[in-house]
Amino acid sequence: MTQAEAKNVNVWYDSFQALKDISMTFEPNTVTALIGPSGCGKSTFLRLFNRMNDLIPLFRVEGLVTVNGQNVYSKDIRLDEMRKKVGMVFQKPNPFPKSIFENVAYGLRVNGISNRKEIEETVERSLKQAALWDEVKDSLKKSAMELSGGQQQRLCIARALAVQPKLILMDEPASALDPISTNRIEELIFELKKDYTIIIVTHNLQQAGRISDATAFFYLGELVEFNLTKKIFLNPDNERTQNYITGRFG
């Protein structure tokens, strides 16, 4: 069963077409990297899967986007239920200006869970999964803003994990971090693959090569090539992919 799918997707911002006829499938327990030069539509594509683009006034989409076999853009979908099943990690760490505990508990609370024990257990489990527990277990009441950038990003990952999504979207999750923190995030992604399906946008080609199973190369709103990562990096079919990988443009 595929975890998520895009079929003949076209996207417009007002009159500008940002995505052109994209079709892709994402298998469970894989990491898929989206690469391509700035402005080619990677974020736009990623944000289709939890309808984050809905907030943009002149945004328009055509085609089919599914998660767990459910049409994300169907009329009778419950947006919050759907978003709960799709976790998202943003480029810059964006914890809420609340305590560490409350950040992770947030998704539970807004989804109507008020049992203290359940919340505490989930917070602990999520922080452990995000490899942050040991660092913060004694200071859960501390403001999340006092953590380092790398810790904040892992907190945001824990926050996303707490609502038990199936699919996790990551938009350049390590681009604002130092190399050591980046390294930890990469290890973490590798761990998370066991339980989740991950789509990650990255500008760092080495990173894509290290962590992903499949890679998609976007260019000017088009999907140029989508294949196993090894294949893309060692022997791409398309010349433009070749050029991008080898740094001849981008």
Partner: protein, 285 residues
């Protein structure tokens, strides 16, 4: 629908209704004044002196008086406000001086208009012995408008892209040349919007002119800056609360209110038209 969505729906409906009420309040006030005022408005009303204990005739001297005061206050406030806006935004980096000047501007903006009235009376009318006069009233209103002009000028200057300034310096232009040739031309329409808006503010103020210039009844036009004048807002106050025959002067009051409201409407509409034109221009570039 789950409770989460139900809550959201209820909350936003309540808020939506409340903002609808806000719109309704404006419509009611404007509608009331327009409907009642329309029948009082005529060519005579706008061009004649008041007669018969202000129950007949027109409001011409009040219109002229308000015109004088607006003009006088702007002659004072506009250059000073724009110059100090330029100084604060273009010459000062984030320093205590900038903070201090901003704070003082905010403080002045927060001073109630009646306090301006007292101050104008104490300084201009009594201390400088201008007496109740256009000059005293204009200066008082000018001081009141000053913070508005400064703030709007600053905002207008902030919209100018820093790269343009840098570009000008790179070509060897001095600071003054840059401001003169690059910054001001771009910010000019926005500064003009600021001017229009502060005219709106000044033309409706009553409290500052009570003790500095406004005359209860003076059916002639001013000859010099040291004359008293009638003014629209004070005239409305007089007609509404202390006319000799309040019942009969009601139509005059409605008419005066309509003239005041129309000024505000015209000013807001022209300001937003100007703004829209600016935005279009920016888009085209």
């Amino acid at each position: 629908m789950n409770t989460k969505q139900l809550k959201q729906r209820i909350a936003f409906s309540i808020f939506g209704t409340m903002s609808f009420i806000v719109v309704a309040i404006l419509v009611i006030i404007l509608g009331f004044i327009v409907i009642r005022g329309m029948s009082a408005i005529s060519w005579e009303f706008l061009t004649e002196m008041p007669k018969d204990g202000m129950t007949k005739g027109g409001i011409f001297p009040a219109i002229v008086g308000t015109g004088c005061l607006v003009l006088g206050s702007m002659v004072f406030a506009f250059p000073i406000g724009v110059l100090s806006g330029i100084y604060i935004n273009e010459y000062l980096t984030e320093s205590w001086l900038k903070k201090f000047l901003r704070m003082m501007t905010n403080n002045l903006a927060g001073v109630p208009s009646i306090v301006f009235g007292l101050f104008g009376m104490a300084l201009f009318v009594n201390y400088l012995s201008f007496g109740d006069s256009i000059i005293a009233g204009s200066m008082t209103l000018g001081l009141l408008a000053l913070p508005v002009v400064i703030r709007l000028t600053e905002e207008a200057l902030k919209t100018v892209d820093d790269n343009l300034r840098l570009g000008s310096y790179a070509l060897g232009a001095t600071k003054i040349q840059t401001i003169q040739k690059v910054v001001i031309p771009i910010a000019f329409p926005n500064i003009m919007t600021g001017l229009i808006l502060s005219i709106g503010r000044v033309s409706g103020e009553t409290a500052p002119i009570l003790f500095t210039v406004a005359a209860y009844f003076l059916p002639r036009l001013p000859h010099s800056l040291s004359d008293q004048v009638m003014a629209l807002p004070y005239h409305l106050y007089v007609l509404a609360t202390s006319g000799t025959n309040m019942e009969e002067s009601r139509p005059m009051a409605y008419g005066t209110a309509l003239v005041l409201v129309s000024i505000v409407l015209i000013i807001n509409v022209s300001a937003s038209l100007l703004r829209r034109r600016i935005q279009k221009k920016v888009k085209m570039n």
